[in-house]
Amino acid sequence: MAIIEPYIQINNLTLQFEIYDQNSQSLKKTIIQNSIGGIFNKKGGKRIIIKSLNNINLEIKSGDRVGLIGNNGSGKSSLLNLISGIYKQTSGNLDVKGSIVSILDLNHGLDFDATGYENILLRGILNGHKPSEIKKNLKEIIEFSELGHFINIPIKNYSMGMILRLAFASSTFYQPQILLLDEWLSVGDQTFIKKCEKKLDEMIKSSQILILASHDLNLIHRVCNKIVKLETGSIIEVKSINS
């Protein structure tokens, strides 16, 4: 199988979405408004349109370790969601080549009633891997997570650190070409962070892309070689750094 060089090409990308209040989420009220609009319009539901990303242009090539910085609400998470394919842009072009794994949310869809083992399977399936492929890697994933026999109990009984170990191990074991992280590396116990960093370094060495959104500048300087600064949905600075 030919290996495709992963890259991300973003041109004039804009993302806006509507926030619905309770009135415009009601079918009854929407129908009333549209039929006898004039009278009720003042009280009717308001649609607030939020421009989350505004005219973004960015090119990310293999080997780039991009740190996304910016205040809360500057569009970091929206950009990650767009690249990972969860959101769809309102206008502009987004071209992503390569396999992606994104860890955007701390709970990221783990099933707390299921065991660690089952969650590894679930995570693999949801990331688009075939069951046979997952089973091949199972032993190594469990070993990496260092969870031992805890792997067979429901994860609602896990500590936060154990859940993170499971999440990291089950998400990164398939060597995605593009890894998206949202505020994630800065949690967990010291020894495991070291292990994660080693794993990340391995992935970067095999010319993969990492995009990390974080407020932790020290972390970004340690892990990344490129900084993209966002403010109110626009890129205001792109610079390279030497790690």
């Binding site: 979405f17 509507e18 619905y20 989420q25 009601s26 079918l27 009854k28 929407t30 969601n81 990972s84 394919g85 969860i86 959101y87 769809k88 992606i100 994104s102 955007l104 949310d105 709970n107 990221h108 869809g109 099933d111 009633d113 299921a114 089952e118 399977l121 679930l122 399936i125 949801l126 990331n127 688009g128 075939k130 069951p131």
Partner: protein
């Protein structure tokens, strides 16, 4: 058609997810979905005792009639009433994984159809117990199973999408399901209306639930192949899937924002 394409291509995803749900059910209680089968049987027996007298029907015939109709109805109604919550319940997954939103609908429908299979031993038991004549057409219920499956998929796709955007649609659905139960020949027999008021026959013949149940009930109870009902269901399937597919093509990418 994207819907069919994903149904086939992502089989390993949605089937795995629904098996996972069934497994969790078994973990909570050893006999799992068989609890539903058991409670259905009890309801069927008690209702049969009462309604066979009220409707002046032979008890044996009525038990058979209710065993197929009622179990199917229970499955259809629980399937459809879950639909408005499909995307809301899967919010965490939708916001974190790139798999098509169809998978969450397929997962829920498939889970309910695995539950339906749990009733088959009971069906086989009563077929033998009441010495129902088996013909080749009896086995056409296997085709019916897949026709019902695909029909529920388009119904649930539309319900899931509309009720995500308009949150009060959910209560409308439950009223509709309740009404349909009384308007569909499950407790009563279609002949009651067809004989007494032939001019009202459209109430039965235009009711999709009637045909969806009939494609099981007739082959299993009488060994008959109900060609008209099959044609109705297949036509409904064709238009339904086309419409559901159109809606999803237009709005699927907005699901993550509406959540």
């Amino acid at each position: 058609m994207i819907l069919i394409n994903i149904l086939i291509k992502n089989f390993h995803i949605w089937f795995f997810l629904s098996m996972h749900e069934v497994k969790k059910r078994y973990r909570r209680s050893i006999i799992g979905p068989f609890w539903v089968v058991l409670s259905n049987i009890i309801i069927i027996l008690i209702l049969s005792l009462i309604y066979s007298i009220i409707l002046k029907k032979n008890l044996e015939w009525y038990i058979l009639y209710l065993s197929f109709g009622f179990i199917l109805w229970q499955n259809i109604s629980s399937n459809i009433s879950e639909a408005p919550e499909t995307f809301i319940r899967s919010a965490a997954l939708i916001k974190n994984y790139r798999i098509s939103n169809y998978n969450y609908i397929f997962r829920d429908v498939c889970k309910n159809f695995i539950n339906l299979i749990h009733n088959f031993p009971y069906w086989i038991f009563i077929l033998i117990w009441f010495e129902v004549k088996i013909s080749l057409y009896t086995f056409s219920f296997i085709i019916s199973y897949f026709i019902l499956f695909l029909n529920i998929i388009w119904i649930n796709t539309i319900l899931a999408l509309v009720s995500l955007r308009f949150r009060d649609f959910n209560s409308l659905t439950s009223v509709f399901i309740q009404l349909s139960f009384f308007a569909t020949p499950v407790l009563w027999d279609a002949s009651h209306i067809l004989e007494a008021r032939p001019q009202l026959s459209w109430v039965i013949y235009l009711n999709p639930f009637y045909h969806l149940i009939e494609i099981f009930r007739q082959p299993l109870m009488q060994g008959i192949f109900p060609a008209n009902s099959f044609i109705f269901c297949i036509l409904m399937l064709f238009f339904g899937i086309t419409f559901a597919n159109y809606l999803m093509r237009k709005y699927s990418h907005r699901v993550a924002f509406w959540l």
